[in-house]
Amino acid sequence: MKIVGKDSPKIDGMAIATGRPVYTEDLAPKDALVIKILRSPHAFARIKSIDTSRAVALEGVECVFTYQDVPGIRFTLAGQSYPEPSPYDRLILDEIVRYVGDEVAIVAAVDERTALNALKRIKVQYEVLEPVLDLETAIDHPSIVHPEDNLHLNFDIGMEKERNIISYQKVEAGEEIEEALRQCDVVVEETVYTQAQSQAMMETFRAFSYLDHANRLVITSSTQVPFHVRRQIARAFNIPASRVRVIKPRIGGGFGAKQTGCCEVFSALVTLKTGKPSIIIYDRTETFNSSTSRHAMKMKVRLGADKEGMIRAYDLEVLSDGGAYGEHSSTTLGCVGEKTMSMYNKTKAVRFTGTAVYTNKQPGGAFRGYGATQGTMALETAVNKLAAELQMDPTEIRLKNLIEEGETSLVYNGKVIKSTTLKDCIRKGKELIGWDEKYPRQVLSNGKIRAVGMAVTQQGSGIAGIDTASAEIRLNDEGSYNLLLGSTDMGTGSDTILSQMAAEIMETTVDQIAVYAGDTDTSPYDPGSYASSTTYVTGMAVVQAAEELKEKILIQGARYMDRNPDEVEFNGQSVVTLDGKTSITLEKIAELNVLGSGRHQLVGNTTYGSPVSPPPYMVGFAEVEVDPQTGKVEPIDFVAVIDCGTVINPKLARIQAEGGLVQGIGMALYEEVRYDGKGRMHTNDFMQYKIPTRKDVGNIRVHFIESYEPTGPFGAKSIGEVVANTPAPAIAHAVFNATGFRVTELPITPEKVFLGQG
């Protein structure tokens, strides 16, 4: 391969690195009304009265809207393929506010200062209700977070809203689980708590909108899911989707946060009501407070094995904090089970029981890893504990039990894994970290302790049977190509790697392909970039679209030379007869195709959905230094060895991996969304919510061991999410090896280690 597998720099790299104005705020009309939101100071309350008159009267204020001004149609902000599994449990503005930061009123004014002043002039009287703040007492709490009778479900997700249950799920396979556990020689049990974690992308939520020449609503938004946003807007405002266009420009990170609609509805509301352009930019506090975070979970895991260390039974019971609205609750919950039940496939029985509950806190949502992160923490903590009980090397127990190529698992319904190098990854990682020399610990002369730990994980590549991406590639009049996509590059470089794939097929160079993506008017349908789908699902659509176009060029070239298609070949520049005597250039074909009557501009256009979601795998090895006198854990080294199938662009894949690993290190050691006793978020800025700085991460080394996934483009699987999952369990394991204290509650703060080590 000439292009795939090579380090093509990102096509937008220089522009974004040097500050060219290509992000949402940079593109907004200068005269756009500025929107600010009055937010609930209470975790749970009913609005008794709301007086906006003094705000409306303020000079420069264009409009103020409350729940009385919006349609009463419930919808979900979750960016998911229709019909969404998330409950339709929101209104644009509601009479009931369900968490501190929930929207109460919308102000649009000529500038930010005026809008902020207007907020202070709105008088609201609340009937304050008793909030549900604890995940563990949410079920059957006297307060019902969603008492409304018009909440809508597209299908049964096991909701019992009167009991604050968003979703209940159970998956069982193999033998009866209790019996299987009884038959095991060793059973370990652990209850693991993972915290709410904020995605904390650098560009906060923002959108602007205006009405175009045809009176259509155009929304430019920093979103991962333009097509889903279009559907949300159409439903929430009860207008035809054909009246809505959503454009995604360059966006400053997403990590799943922007897989949930956020501020688009407010900008749409103002523009639809006033006919004027409007812009809304969440500040960092709003971004932390009033969006979504990784679902906090309590997970009880039981793992049983025989004396030889063969894992025979796995039981996982999960309680997930959905927060005030049910976006992504049922699906994230499902992934906790799905992504952990198949990896150790020598099991005789597996069971997953999950419940997601409503509470009066910020809603949970999508965040890189999407349940697999939480589940990996539970499962791998248990596997490490099991290894300790069995006095086995933690790497050995994995090598004994992990799934291999050609194998299936209890929950795969007969499907087999077609690509994995995970065992090789473990062997390589062991060598890179120096496991045999370092495991489990070494006490340094200054009293500090160096120790290593490990974890493995899998993710998916797109959502099997649901994600369906389209791609269109067009031969232009002068012989270059346009690649149209609906996927949403959020900095990952997906536009670039998809261009690489197209260039590889078309036997041309990346600069011959102009890629345009993320505009619902011009892009072919794509759910957007999430669920580790873009390389794998959209990538296949691109490959097939390019192959289709290539075939058309071949046929057309043959026709211009009066030959049969099987007598010619296309080499990227020309269609040439097999004898090499006659040829026609691509430019000539392109030119002739748009000249005169009876012509067809050549277009490859494919829609692709995969019946499978092949898991990428990886192992993470952590080396930490623990100061037993203070409990401080310093990450020293992290080795990640990854099987993402074929690596399409090594440099970009490496950065994806390093970035995901650091988010995982943040989750392991530093990050936590915390509330006070009244449900007010304490960690709603970067002074209180500490994402890792470059001093907090130690060294990170990423290595790839490629497999070849036959269902993926050029053998590729996904990379985006799998990289977030191993740091927390691997670091927790290293801390255990250093101190004998098994951390079961994230993050691993100095105080927990100090007190826990005894």
């Binding site: 790299g13 690195a17 500050g19 906060t204 990952t492 490496r654 390093e658 470059r694």
Partner: protein
């Protein structure tokens, strides 16, 4: 109020309210490379140089810039592009939203420190947050750019 400054080498009059911060003034003045990532003075995105020193423009009151030299990434195009090329070759710009502030800090470091060690580089740049890259690629790019091991 009017504030007379030298912006990227040119005498310029900035307009700003008395309690306006420089990041907002500069954006309003068309310097759209200025990004704000936090409202708590701690992400590094809005870094510009004031009299050559990397400064958080989000916390710098505009009136204080009177008579000062302000440099944004638009004002150091050549150097910025030279480093950006190395950064992009490493894939380490990712979403790019933090890049202008980051690049301004890297270039300030280059002016301030001679042959910095890895620890010195990391220390100098601790105030530049990045959520995408995990920092390793940025460090590789800086070392290549500075020609240090």
């Amino acid at each position: 109020m009017d504030i007379e400054v030298t912006l990227n080498g040119k005498k310029t009059t900035l307009q700003g309210k008395k309690d306006e911060f420089l990041a907002d003034t500069l954006r309003a003045h068309g310097q759209l490379s200025i990004r704000k990532g936090c409202n708590t003075t701690c992400c590094g995105l809005c870094t510009v140089w004031i009299d050559g020193k990397p400064t958080l423009s989000c916390a710098y009151l505009t009136f204080r810039a009177e008579g000062k030299n302000i440099t944004t990434i638009e004002g150091v195009k050549e150097e910025a592009e030279a480093f950006a090329k190395v950064l992009v070759a490493e894939g380490a710009e990712q979403c790019g939203f933090c890049s202008p502030g980051f690049i301004m800090t890297v270039l300030a470091m280059k002016n301030e420190l001679q042959n910095p060690t890895e620890d010195e580089i990391i220390h100098y740049l601790t105030g530049n947050l990045c959520r995408c890259t995990g920092y390793m690629g940025q460090l590789r790019a800086i070392k290549k750019y500075l020609g240090v091991a």
